[in-house]
Amino acid sequence: MIGERHWQRLALAFALAAALIWLFPYAWMLLTSLKTPQELVKAPTALPAALRFGAYAEVFRAIPVGRYLGLTTVMALSIAALQIAIALPAAYALAKLDFRLRGAAFAFLMSALLIPAELRFVPTFTLFSTLGLVNTLPALVLPFAVSAFGIFLLRQALLSVPDSLLEAARLDGASELHIVYRLLPPILAPSLAAFFLVSFVHHWNDYFWPLVMTVDDRVRTLPLGIALLREQGSGVRWHIVMAGNTLLSLPALALFGFAQKHLLRGLGSGVG
C-alpha cells in the first residue's frame, strides 16, 4: 500500500510533468521566433545564438498587424457589448417578470444553446451574400448579437436577486428600462465580468466565422492573418510564423493572467 507521503510526492511529480508539457510549446514558439533562417536550416532544434527580433519585423512587413489587431478588438468588443445589452433585458424578463409562455420561452432558449455557429453558417452565408453583407464588419458581429449562453448565465444570477429590491426601485418611480440598465448591472457585476471575458476571448480567438465570412483583406481578423503567414511566401518561414504566433497568443495569455478568476467562474458555470 502506498503511504500518504509517497502519494503526495507522486502527485507533485505529476503536476511538474504536466506544467512542463503544457509550457514547453510556448517556450518552443518563443525560441523559434528568435532564430535566424540560417539557424533554422542548420540546426532547427538548437537554441538561438543571440536574441534577434528580425522575424517580428518580417511579420509586420508581411501583414498589417496593427490593422488586424484593431479590427479584431473592435469586433470582439462590439459582440460582447451587443450580447450584454440584449442579454440583460432578456434575462430580466425570464427571471423576474411574469408573462404567459415564460416556461416555453425558457425551453426555447435552452434549445438555442445547442445550435453552434458551425450549424448556422451555411444559411447565414447565403442570406448575407444576397444582402451583399459578406466581407463586412456587420457580417462578423450581427450573427452573434444574441448569446443564449449569456442570457442563461445572467438569468441564473438574477434568480438570487431579491424581488423586494426591484419593488423598492419601482416604488421610487424607476422605469423598467432604468431597472434593467442602471440598477441591475452593479448587482450583476461578477457575472457580467465573467461573461464579458468569456465572450471577448472566444470571439477574439475565433477563426471559423471570419474565415467563412471574409474574402479579402478588408475585414480580416488577426487569427486569420497569422494563419496566412504560413501559406504565403516560400523557403524556411517557421521563425516568422512563430513570431506571428507569439503576437497572436500574447494578448490572450496576458488577459488570462490578469483575469484568471473571472474566466474560470464564467467557464465553470456549467454550460458552454
Binding site: 506544467a19 477563426y207 510564423v241 490572450a252 484568471q260 474560470l264
Partner: protein, 273 residues
C-alpha cells in the same frame, strides 16, 4: 428577445432544411431536387466516412481529456506554488486560440525539422509521419485537441472536488483507509456525475471541431481527418454545393440534438448531488 432568437437561431435552421431539398451553386437559381441531396450523401459514403472520422477523433479526445483531466485535478487539488503553476499552465491552453495551437503543433510535429521527430531521431527512433499518414494523422489531431481542452475538464473536476465534504475523507481515514482506497471507494464514486457532465460536454465540443483540422491537415491525408464540420465547409466553399451542405447541416443538427439530450440528462443527474 424571442424575435431576436428566432432570427438568429430558428431562421437559419428552417432555411437550411428548405435549401437541403434544392440544388444550388449560389450563382444560378436554385433547382428543387427533393431528397436527391440526402440520397447522394448516403450513397457516396462521404457522410459515413466523415461521421466515422468524427467519432474516432471524438472518442479519443473524450477518453483522453476525461482521464487526464481527472488525474490532473486530483494531483493539483492542493496548496503550493507547483500545483498552482500546473493549474494555470494546463488551463492556459484552453484560453489560447485554435490558430495558435494549430500553428504551434504544426511546427512541433513537422516531419523533418520538428522537435519531436528530431528528438526521436537522436534516440535512434522514427521518423513518425505525424500528419501525413492516414493512420496516425487522426490520432495526432486528437492528441492536440486533448492538449487544448484538458484544462476545461480539469477545472470542472476541481470544482467537483471542492464541493465534496472533507469530513467524509477524514472519516474514511479514521477507519484506516489509505489514500488509494479513499480515492477508489470515496472520491471517485462521488465524482461520477461530474465525469458524466465533462464527458458529454467534450463529446459535443469535439463534434464541432474544425479550426485545428483546417490548419493542420486540411482534412487529409486522403480525407482521413475530414470531420463533419470540415465536410460541410468543403461542400460549400470548394464545391459550391449549397444544397448538399445544407443537407449535411440538417443531419449534423440531429446528431447534436441527440447528444444534447444526453447532456441534459447528465446535468439533471448532477443536480441533486
Amino acid at each position: 428577445m424571442l424575435v431576436a432568437l428566432g432570427i438568429f437561431f430558428v431562421y437559419p435552421l428552417c432555411s437550411a432544411l428548405r435549401t437541403s431539398f434544392y440544388e444550388w451553386d449560389l450563382l444560378t437559381p436554385p433547382r428543387f431536387v427533393g431528397f436527391d441531396n440526402y440520397r447522394a450523401i448516403f450513397s457516396s459514403g462521404e457522410l459515413l466516412s466523415s461521421l466515422g472520422t468524427t467519432l474516432l477523433v471524438s472518442s479519443v479526445v473524450v477518453v483522453g481529456s476525461l482521464a487526464l483531466g481527472l488525474a490532473l485535478a486530483l494531483a493539483v487539488h492542493r496548496p503550493g506554488w507547483l500545483a498552482a503553476l500546473a493549474r494555470s499552465a494546463v488551463f492556459s491552453a484552453y484560453v489560447v486560440s485554435w490558430v495558435s495551437v494549430g500553428l504551434l503543433f504544426l511546427w512541433i510535429f513537422d516531419a523533418d525539422a520538428g522537435v519531436v521527430n528530431r528528438t526521436l531521431a537522436a534516440l535512434g527512433l522514427g521518423p513518425v509521419k505525424w500528419l501525413t499518414s492516414t493512420r496516425v494523422a487522426p490520432l495526432t489531431v486528437a492528441l492536440i485537441v486533448i492538449w487544448k481542452v484538458t484544462g476545461y475538464a480539469m477545472v470542472v473536476f476541481l470544482s467537483g472536488l471542492s464541493s465534496l465534504s472533507p469530513e467524509l475523507q477524514e472519516a474514511a481515514a479514521l477507519d484506516g483507509a489509505g489514500p488509494f482506497s479513499r480515492l477508489r471507494h470515496v472520491t471517485l464514486p462521488l465524482l461520477r456525475p461530474t465525469a458524466a457532465f465533462v464527458a458529454i460536454t467534450s463529446l459535443i465540443a469535439s463534434f464541432q471541431l474544425f479550426d485545428v483540422v483546417r490548419l493542420l491537415t486540411q482534412g487529409g491525408p486522403v480525407r482521413s481527418t475530414t470531420v463533419l464540420v470540415y465536410a460541410i465547409y468543403e461542400q460549400l466553399f470548394r464545391d459550391l454545393r449549397v444544397g448538399r451542405a445544407s443537407a449535411l447541416v440538417v443531419i449534423f443538427f440531429l446528431v447534436l440534438a441527440a447528444l444534447t439530450w444526453l447532456k441534459l440528462r447528465a446535468f439533471r443527474a448532477e443536480e441533486p448531488a
